[in-house]
């Protein structure tokens, strides 16, 4: 394993010190491992708390700031944060209008946020939860833990963050989050495995001439493995299951081509071009575009495509000012 770290045990603590030093928009509660806004939201506004295992940066800590999240709970690498962290974040950011938890659909995340929400509710905080499950790669959700939450989470956090900033109430914000989540689909692939620092070796073996289609963001295997082809074919394999899963015709959409961490931007742009060509051919209107590393999987090489149906309200909120390390415009 070759990594730019001090020791595997200190990865999170060291990274949080770096985040605090690098980003003036946030402050870090090192005891509870929570990234918070340096300049808290005004009283009476709904607060947004997300979080999850580390290794997906900028998700979620990089989206803390004006127009997006109020706090991100930072777990160990690929490991959900714990209920006491979630409780600390929730009580800290509550401005009397309640707190929305944005949770990616993984068994551990859902369970820990559930316990954190129970603890916060006991203390009188109004908590609502939306679970993001945008990954169409999971085909059989009856006999699994269900679809995973992946890069589509970024779109939900952006849109609902803007709404909360405008003063939308908790019930409405939760409903909006659910509506955006229900309108968003993602599909990913990997060229290589990733290496968890504490494990010291790649999570799985993927031969030089093969790729894994339908990957999640933790090095968990996908739908199937097959010989490596070209960007045009990969684009087709990512776009087709998305279009087969939800009707994207006659609507504006937000398109995100996301890197898994070790794929250079030049390759992501090649993929973006191929994806756009396929969407144009399928009659899908792309109204907003993002390309880059937004929800990563440590040092995995690979990419995912996220497509979100967006009505006028969602587009307006997507365009609203945001000032975070991971997304910044209009502010």
């Amino acid at each position: 394993m070759k990594k730019l770290i001090n020791s595997p045990e200190r990865v999170i603590a060291d990274a949080l010190r770096g985040v605090e030093a690098a980003d003036e928009r946030v402050r870090v509660d090192h005891t509870n491992r929570v990234i918070l806004r340096a300049d808290p939201k005004a009283q009476g506004k709904v607060a947004l708390v997300s979080g999850g295992g580390s290794g997906h940066e900028p998700l979620h800590g990089g989206y803390v700031g004006h127009g997006m999240l109020d706090a991100a709970c930072v777990g160990e690498v690929f490991t959900s944060p714990t209920p006491d962290q979630i409780l600390a974040a929730t009580t800290e950011v509550d401005r009397g209008a309640g707190v929305l938890h944005i949770v990616k659909n993984y068994t551990g995340d859902v369970m820990n946020f559930e316990m954190g929400a129970e603890l916060a509710t006991d203390l009188g905080v109004d908590v609502r939860t939306v679970v993001i499950a945008d990954d169409v790669a999971v085909e059989d959700s009856t006999y699994t833990a269900g679809r995973r939450g992946v890069a589509g989470t970024v779109v939900v956090e952006k849109v609902v963050g803007a709404a909360a900033e405008e003063g939308m109430g908790l019930g409405e914000a939760a409903a909006l989050a659910q509506r955006v989540a229900d309108s968003t689909r993602s599909m990913g692939m990997a060229l290589t495995s990733c290496t968890v620092p504490a494990a010291g070796r790649p999570t799985f073996d993927l031969p030089e001439d093969e790729m894994e289609i339908g990957i999640g963001i933790h090095g968990e295997p996908g739908r199937h493995r097959e010989p490596l082809t070209d960007a045009a074919d990969v684009a087709r394999q990512l776009v087709e299951p998305i279009l087969a899963d939800l009707d994207f015709a006659d609507a504006d959409t937000i398109l995100l081509v996301n890197g898994m961490g070790a794929t250079p931007l030049i390759e992501l742009h090649i993929l973006f071009g191929e994806v756009m060509a396929l969407l144009e051919a399928a009659g899908v209107r792309v109204a907003r575009r993002l390309v880059g590393n937004y929800a990563t999987s440590l040092d995995m090489a690979g990419a995912s495509v996220t497509l979100a149906r967006a009505d006028a309200e969602i587009l307006r909120l997507f365009d609203a000012p945001v000032n975070t390390a991971g997304l910044r415009w209009g502010a």
Partner: protein
């Protein structure tokens, strides 16, 4: 009687086995999970062992272990082991000694709460596959002799653990693999087996 000394020894031995087997647990977690079970359990037990030693009553010991697992482990194992120990603690009252049957009943309550939290049933290829038969064996033999009951619980856990190898995962991250999860032993069922291995060893 089950004493605080026995509970301390049990948790300390569980911690030793976890330390010894952490790499193996992580190795089991790599093909069907996310390669962190050993590291996570080790982090939890490092906090749980001294916490159990310093608590004055059995319920306080189990609660301390539960809180350590809840706050240090994360992932799925944290809330699940946390729920197991916390719910078991709640049944006992503040005592330094409890009858073996009460101890077994407490573990039953904890195990049921864990299964409820995880929404898992036997056969789903989870820690429940080791835990449920172990607690059942402990309960059915506890009237005879606690050492023999703990031994039976360990055997039942180990058989349950071994049986997960041929199962298709239906819960947790391994469930995304479907049929491809067959052939891999569940890491959670494995660590749960160590819990009863430790209990059997310190009860001899």
């Amino acid at each position: 009687m089950i004493t605080t000394a026995l509970v301390s020894a049990w948790i300390a031995r569980f911690g030793e086995i976890i330390e010894d087997r952490a790499d193996y647990l992580t190795k089991l977690d790599s093909p069907i999970g996310d390669a962190d079970h050993g590291a996570n359990m080790l982090r939890g037990m490092t906090a749980a062992v001294p916490a159990a030693e310093n608590a004055p009553t059995i319920d306080a010991q189990l609660k301390a272990v539960g809180m350590a697992m809840l706050s240090k482990v994360g992932g799925t194992s944290g809330p699940l082991y946390g729920t197991l120990f916390l719910k078991a603690a709640m049944t006992l009252g503040q005592r330094a000694e409890v009858a073996p049957s009460e101890f077994a009943a407490a573990l039953r309550t904890g195990a049921d709460a864990l299964a409820f939290r995880g929404k898992a049933e036997p056969g789903d290829k989870t820690m429940v596959d080791a835990l449920a038969p172990a607690v059942a064996a402990l309960e059915s033999h506890v009237a005879e002799d606690f050492a023999a009951a703990a031994e039976a619980a360990h055997r039942a856990a180990d058989e349950g653990r071994a049986a997960t190898t041929d199962m298709v995962a239906r819960k947790g991250r391994a469930s995304y693999l479907g049929e491809r999860s067959v052939g891999h032993t569940d890491p959670g069922a494995t660590s749960a087996t160590y819990l009863f291995q430790a209990l059997a060893e310190v009860s001899r």
